[in-house]
C-alpha cells in the first residue's frame, strides 16, 4: 500500500522540491500551504507522514503538531518537522510538541529521503 505524505510549507519552491523528491520515492503526495489547511487535510486524509514547516502564516508548525498529537484518532500520523530556524531551543520545542523527528533547512535531500523512509518503515 502506498504511503501518504502531506507536505506543509508556505514557500512555493521548497514545496516543489519536496513534492518531486517524495513522488520519486513512490509516495502519494498532497500539499498544504498553511497551518490551518494542514490540520484540515490531516484530519481528512490521515497521511502516514507530515513534512511540516514551522514558520507559516495563520498557524505555526508547532501549533499544528500539538493539535495533531493531542488527538488520539491521529496517533498514527508521523511528523517530521522542518525549520529554517536552526536554534537548539526550536528543536527542543518541536520535539516537546510531539514531533517525531526534526530537520533543519537547508537539508540534504539524501538524508531527508532516508529519514522519511526510516520513519515510515518503523511499524
Amino acid at each position: 500500500m502506498t504511503k501518504k505524505i502531506l507536505i506543509v510549507d508556505d514557500e512555493q519552491n521548497i514545496v516543489i522540491s519536496l513534492e518531486f523528491l517524495m513522488k520519486r520515492e513512490g509516495y502519494e503526495v498532497s500539499i498544504a500551504g498553511d497551518g490551518e489547511e494542514a490540520v484540515a487535510r490531516i484530519r481528512r486524509e490521515e497521511p502516514d507522514l507530515v513534512l511540516l514547516d514551522v514558520m507559516m502564516p495563520r498557524k505555526s508548525g508547532f501549533e499544528v503538531c500539538q493539535e495533531i498529537k493531542s488527538d488520539p484518532a491521529l496517533k498514527a500520523v508521523r511528523i517530521l518537522m522542518l525549520t529554517a530556524k536552526g536554534r537548539d531551543t526550536e528543536v527542543a520545542k518541536g520535539l516537546a510538541m510531539g514531533a517525531d523527528a526534526y530537520m533543519t533547512k537547508p537539508f540534504s535531500t539524501k538524508e531527508l529521503v532516508e529519514k522519511v523512509r526510516a520513519m515510515l518503515s518503523e511499524r
Binding site: L21, R24, D34, M55, A84, K85, T109
Partner: protein, 922 residues
C-alpha cells in the same frame, strides 16, 4: 494682745518645722526618693513670688488703689502662658551648661565675661537687698503689733537698741537656716531639694493663713462679699476704688505694671532660683503653668474684701492698711487667728528671704568674689589641693552678708518711703535683665559690650528715676533735685525726665530704663560682629533645643590638655571624691574603664569646665580651665567655620539622603536601561533569527534542487530548465537579501555613505517610474503620474532616493490585482516640503499591520500569495527618508488599496534655487 514669749516660741516652732521639712526633703533626696520631684511641689515653690509684700502689702495697695494690686499677679499669669516658650528654654540652657544664677546666665551667654557677671550681681544685690529688708520689717512690725508695741494707729514702735531688736535674731536665724540648707555641699547643679520642700510648705501655710483671715473678715465680720461691697458702695470715698480711674491710675500704668510683673516673675533672682535652677524635671513646668497663676488668684480673692473691711471698720486713715491682716483679727479678739496670720506673714517673709539670699550668695560668690580671687596670681597657682572649704565659706559668708545688709537697710530705712515702695522698685531693677537674657536666648547678634551697655544704661536710669527719688522722698537726699531737676535743669527732673509727663513714676522709670537698656544693648551690639567666644556661646544658647543637630559645645575648643591637670583642678573646687565620681561617670559614658585612660580631648575639657561652672560660675570656670590647658583661642572666623561645619554636617547628611534617593533612582533607571538592553538584545536575536530564516529559505531550495539535479541524471530537460530557473531566482533573492541586510546594518550603525547632491525630484520620480514600467506591464497594471511644473531642488543622496522610489513602486506592483492594477504616483510641494504619494488599488493593509510593516521581516499581505521580497525594503526606505529629516507612512483601508507617502523637508533657500532651476529649464 499676745505675749512675746508665746509669739517667739510659735515662731521658733514654725522655723523648726521648716527645718524638719527641709531636712526631710534633703534626706529623701539623698535616698533618691525626692519629694520635690513632683509638679505640685514645683508649682508651690514658685509661689515664693508672694512675699510679705503680697501678704500685707496687697491689702495696703487695695485700700488706697482698689483693683490696682492686681496687675502684679495678672502679669505672671500672662507670663506663664508663655512659659513653654521662654522658661523651658531657660531651664534647658541652665541645665545643659550648669548655670546657677542670672548673673552666670548672662555672663556665660556673652562670652563668659567676669565683668558682665559682676555687673548683674551688683544690680541684683542693689535691687533686692532692700526687698529683703522689707521682709524683715514685716516680721518685725507684725511681732510688735501682736505684743502690743504699737501706737494708736497700730504702727509698731521699734526697739531702741540693735541688740535688743528681735528682728536681728530672726535675720540671724534665717541665715543659719539658709546656710544649712542652701550650702550643705557644693554641687555642680546647685540644687537644694530640702530648701525647695520648705518653700513649698511655706507657700501652703501663707495661703491657708491668708484665706483664713479673708474668710473671717468676709463672713465673720461681714455678711459675705455682697455685704462688704454694698457697704463700700454707700461710702463715696470707697466707691472710687471700684474703677481704675477712681483709684487714680491710667490704662498705661496698668499695662506697665502688668509688663513689669511679667518680667519680674522670671527675672527676680529668687524666681530664677526656684523656676530654673531648682527645677528637677522640665515636665513639671507644665502643671506650674496653670497652678501657679491659680495660686495667685486664690491668694488675691480676699484682698479687696479685707481692705474694704478694714477701711469700713477702722475708718479711713485711722490704721495703716498694711496691717489689716493682723489688726482685724486682733481687734476683734481673734488672738489665735491673728497668730496664724502672723505665722502666714512669717512664712511669706522667710520663704522670700531664704531663696533670695541663696540666689544672691551664689552670684556674689561666683561672679564677684571668685573673679577677684582669681586675679590673685597666688591663688591661681596655689598648690592647695582642696578649695571646697573656701568656696563654702565664701557662700556662707555671702549669705550672712546679704542678710545683714538687709537688716542694716531695714534699721536705717525704718518707715521711710524707700522701704515701702521697694517692691515695685525692685521689680523695675530686675526687669533690666530682660533684654540681655531674652536677647541672648533668641538673638545671636548680642555682644558683651552690648549687654554691658544695656545693663549699665538701664541700671543708671533706674537709679536716677526710681531709686534716688525714693531716697529723696525718704528724706535722705535733698528733694530739690526732684522738684527742679539735677543742677536745676528742668528736663533732668527724675520723675519727668526730658519733660515726659502723664505717667506714674513706675511706668515712667520703666519706659526710660527699658528704652535705654534695649537701645544700648541693640545699638552697641550691632557696632561690631560677635567674637568667636560670643558667637559660639550664642549658638549654644539660641540653638539649645537643636543640640545634636548643630555644633557641640566641645567643638568650639582647640588645644591640648592632660587628664592629670583637669582632674585635680576640678577636685580643688568640688572635692576629690565628687570630682572622681564625676570623672568616673564620664569615663563610663565614654566606654573607658579608668579615668587615666580618658583622652583629654575637647569633650573632656568641656566636661570639666561645665562641672566647675556649676560650682564657681562659668566665667571663673573658663579662667581656671584655661590656666591648666594649652589652648588656641578661636577667632570669629574659626567659630563660623565650626558652625559652618556643623551646618555642613547637617547639609551633608541631607545630601546623603538625597544621594541615596538619587542612587535609588539611578538603580531604577539602570534596571530600566538593562531591561531595554535585554529587549534590544532580544530584538537583535530575533533579527538574527529572522535573517537566518530568510537566508536558509532560499538556500533550502537552491540546495534541494542542486542535489536533485546532481544526483538524478534522468530528469528531463524541461524539468531541468525549470529547476535551474528556480535556483537562479532563489540565488538572486539571496543576493538581494544579503545586500539589503548589509545596507540596513550600515544605515542603522551610521556607517552608510551619503553622496548628497541637488536633486530634481521630478526627474527622479519620472526615472523611477520608467525603470519599473516593465514590472507593471507584466502585472497588467496602469501607472498614472502626476507631476507639478517645477519643484525646488532637494539636497539628498540621488541613488538612495531612487532606491526608496523603486521600493515603493515595486511594492505597489506586487500587491495590485493582476490585470486590473492601477497605481497613481504624485509629486507635490508646499510648506517647505516635497511630498510623494504612491497609491495602489491592492487589497490594502489592515490597521493592525499598518504599524508593523515598517519593521524588519514583517511583510504584509497573505503569505500564501506573498510576493518575492525580503521584508527589508520598507524599513530601509523609512530609514533613508528619516535620514533626510522626512517621514514615511502608509494610509489604507482594507479592500481599497494602500497609499504610501513620504515628505522631505527642503533646505532653506531651496525656493530660490528652485526658481533658478525653473528658469534654466525654460
Amino acid at each position: 494682745m499676745l505675749s512675746g514669749g508665746l509669739i517667739v516660741s510659735v515662731s521658733f516652732a514654725y522655723l523648726l518645722l521648716l527645718f524638719a521639712v527641709a531636712y526631710f526633703g534633703d534626706r529623701r533626696a539623698d535616698q533618691g526618693r525626692s519629694i520635690i520631684a513632683n509638679p505640685w511641689t514645683y508649682a508651690l515653690s514658685l509661689a515664693v513670688y508672694c512675699t510679705a509684700w503680697t501678704y500685707f502689702g496687697s491689702v495696703g495697695r487695695a485700700a488706697s488703689g482698689g483693683v490696682w494690686f492686681l496687675p502684679i499677679y495678672l502679669g505672671p499669669t500672662l507670663g506663664f502662658a508663655l512659659s513653654w516658650l521662654v522658661i523651658l528654654k531657660m531651664i534647658r540652657i541652665a541645665k545643659t551648661y550648669r548655670i546657677t544664677s542670672i548673673a552666670d546666665f548672662i555672663a556665660s551667654r556673652y562670652g563668659k565675661s567676669h565683668l558682665l557677671g559682676g555687673l548683674v550681681s551688683i544690680i541684683a544685690v542693689v535691687g533686692t537687698v532692700p526687698y529683703i529688708a522689707l521682709q524683715l520689717k514685716a516680721i518685725s512690725s507684725g511681732y510688735a503689733l501682736l505684743i502690743g508695741e504699737h501706737d494708736a494707729a497700730y504702727r509698731s514702735i521699734h526697739a531702741g537698741s540693735w541688740l535688743q531688736d528681735s528682728t536681728l535674731y530672726i535675720a540671724l536665724l534665717l541665715a543659719v537656716f539658709t546656710v544649712l540648707f542652701g550650702t550643705r555641699h557644693l554641687d555642680a547643679t546647685e540644687r537644694h531639694e530640702g530648701m525647695v520642700a520648705a518653700i513649698a510648705f511655706e507657700s501652703v501655710v501663707k495661703l491657708v493663713a491668708f484665706l483664713a483671715v479673708g474668710l473671717f473678715v468676709t463672713y465673720g465680720l461681714f455678711d459675705g462679699f455682697g455685704d462688704i461691697f454694698a457697704r463700700a458702695y454707700a461710702d463715696a470715698d470707697l466707691a472710687g476704688l471700684f474703677t481704675l480711674d477712681g483709684a487714680g491710675g491710667s490704662y498705661g500704668g496698668w499695662f506697665a505694671l502688668t509688663l513689669l510683673a511679667m518680667l519680674s516673675v522670671i527675672f527676680l533672682p529668687r524666681q530664677f532660683q526656684v523656676t530654673v535652677v531648682e527645677n528637677v524635671n522640665e515636665q513639671h513646668l507644665r502643671r506650674a503653668t496653670w497652678l501657679f497663676p491659680a495660686y495667685l488668684l486664690a491668694i488675691n480673692v480676699f484682698v479687696l474684701p479685707i481692705a474694704l473691711g478694714g477701711l469700713l471698720l477702722f475708718g479711713q486713715g485711722a490704721v495703716d492698711p498694711d496691717t489689716f491682716v493682723l489688726t482685724l483679727p486682733l481687734v476683734h479678739g481673734q488672738k489665735w487667728l491673728a497668730l496664724l496670720a502672723f505665722v502666714g506673714g512669717l512664712s511669706a517673709s522667710t520663704g522670700m528671704v531664704i531663696v533670695e539670699t541663696i540666689a544672691l550668695s551664689t552670684m556674689v560668690c561666683n561672679d564677684l568674689v571668685m573673679p577677684l580671687l582669681l586675679r590673685l596670681s597666688r591663688f591661681k597657682q596655689a598648690a592647695s589641693p582642696d578649695l571646697t572649704g573656701l568656696l563654702l565659706a565664701i557662700r556662707r559668708g555671702a549669705i550672712l552678708l546679704v542678710l545683714l545688709l538687709g537688716y542694716v537697710y531695714f534699721r536705717l530705712a525704718g518707715e521711710a518711703y524707700a522701704l515701702v515702695a521697694i517692691g515695685l522698685i525692685s521689680f523695675a531693677a530686675v526687669a533690666q535683665f530682660a533684654p540681655a537674657m531674652l536677647g541672648g536666648m533668641y538673638w545671636r547678634g548680642g555682644t558683651r559690650e552690648g549687654a554691658l551697655a544695656g545693663l549699665a544704661g538701664g541700671f543708671l536710669l533706674w537709679t536716677y528715676t526710681l531709686l534716688l527719688p525714693s531716697f529723696a522722698k525718704s528724706g535722705w537726699l535733698d528733694p530739690a533735685f526732684l522738684e527742679h531737676g539735677l543742677f536745676g535743669l528742668a528736663w533732668l527732673k527724675p520723675e519727668q525726665l526730658f519733660g515726659l509727663q502723664g505717667l506714674d513714676n513706675i511706668s515712667h522709670a520703666l519706659f526710660w530704663s527699658m528704652a535705654a537698656n534695649i537701645g544700648c544693648y541693640v545699638l552697641v551690639s550691632v557696632l561690631r560682629s560677635p567674637t568667636g567666644q560670643e558667637a559660639s556661646q550664642a549658638t549654644l544658647f539660641v540653638d539649645v533645643f537643636r543640640r545634636g543637630q548643630t555644633a557641640m559645645p566641645a567643638s568650639f575648643w582647640r588645644g591640648s590638655a592632660e587628664v592629670s591637670d583637669l582632674l585635680p583642678l576640678v577636685a580643688r573646687f568640688l572635692g576629690t571624691r565628687r570630682a572622681m565620681d564625676a570623672f568616673n561617670d564620664y569615663a563610663r559614658t565614654r566606654g573607658v574603664a579608668h579615668v587615666q585612660e580618658l583622652k583629654a580631648d575637647a569633650g573632656l575639657v568641656h566636661f570639666a569646665e561645665t562641672l566647675l561652672a556649676g560650682a564657681i560660675g562659668s566665667a571663673s570656670a573658663r579662667v581656671m580651665v584655661s590656666s591648666v590647658v594649652q589652648e588656641e583661642p578661636l577667632g570669629l572666623d574659626e567659630v563660623m567655620n565650626i558652625l559652618d561645619e556643623a551646618s555642613q554636617v547637617r547639609a551633608y547628611s541631607h545630601q546623603l539622603e538625597e544621594k541615596s534617593r538619587a542612587l535609588q533612582a539611578a538603580t531604577d533607571e539602570l534596571r530600566r536601561a538593562n531591561e531595554q538592553l535585554k529587549e534590544l538584545d532580544r530584538l537583535k536575536d530575533d533579527f538574527m533569527s529572522s535573517v537566518t530564516h530568510e537566508l536558509r529559505t532560499p538556500l533550502t531550495s537552491i540546495r534541494a534542487f542542486s542535489e536533485m539535479l546532481h544526483d538524478d541524471p534522468r530528469i528531463d530537460l524541461a524539468e531541468r530548465t525549470r529547476f535551474l530557473g528556480i535556483i537562479v531566482s532563489e540565488t538572486a533573492r539571496l543576493t538581494r537579501l544579503v545586500n539589503q541586510v548589509l545596507d540596513m546594518a550600515k544605515i542603522e550603525s551610521g556607517h552608510a555613505e551619503w553622496h548628497n547632491t541637488d536633486i530634481d525630484m521630478r526627474q527622479l520620480v519620472e526615472h523611477a517610474v520608467g525603470t519599473t514600467a516593465q514590472l507593471f506591464r507584466d502585472r497588467g497594471a496602469a501607472v498614472e503620474l502626476s507631476l507639478p511644473d517645477a519643484v525646488p531642488l532637494l539636497r539628498a543622496d540621488h541613488d538612495r532616493m531612487v532606491q526608496v522610489m523603486l521600493n515603493l513602486l515595486s511594492n505597489a506592483a506586487k500587491f495590485v490585482p493582476a490585470g486590473e492594477g492601477r497605481v497613481k504616483v504624485a509629486l507635490t510641494h508646499g510648506g517647505g516640503e516635497l511630498r510623494v504619494d504612491v497609491a495602489d488599488n491592492g487589497p490594502g493593509i489592515p490597521p493592525e499591520s499598518a504599524a508593523v510593516i515598517f519593521e524588519k521581516f514583517r511583510q504584509g499581505g497573505d503569505q500564501r500569495s506573498r510576493p518575492q521580497g525580503t521584508g527589508l525594503g520598507l524599513p530601509i526606505s523609512k530609514q533613508i527618508v528619516e535620514h533626510f529629516g522626512g517621514r514615511l507612512w502608509v494610509t489604507s483601508s482594507p479592500g481599497e488599496g494602500a497609499t504610501f507617502s513620504f515628505v522631505l523637508p527642503l533646505a532653506e533657500g531651496a525656493a530660490e534655487s528652485a526658481a533658478a532651476a525653473h528658469n534654466e529649464i525654460e
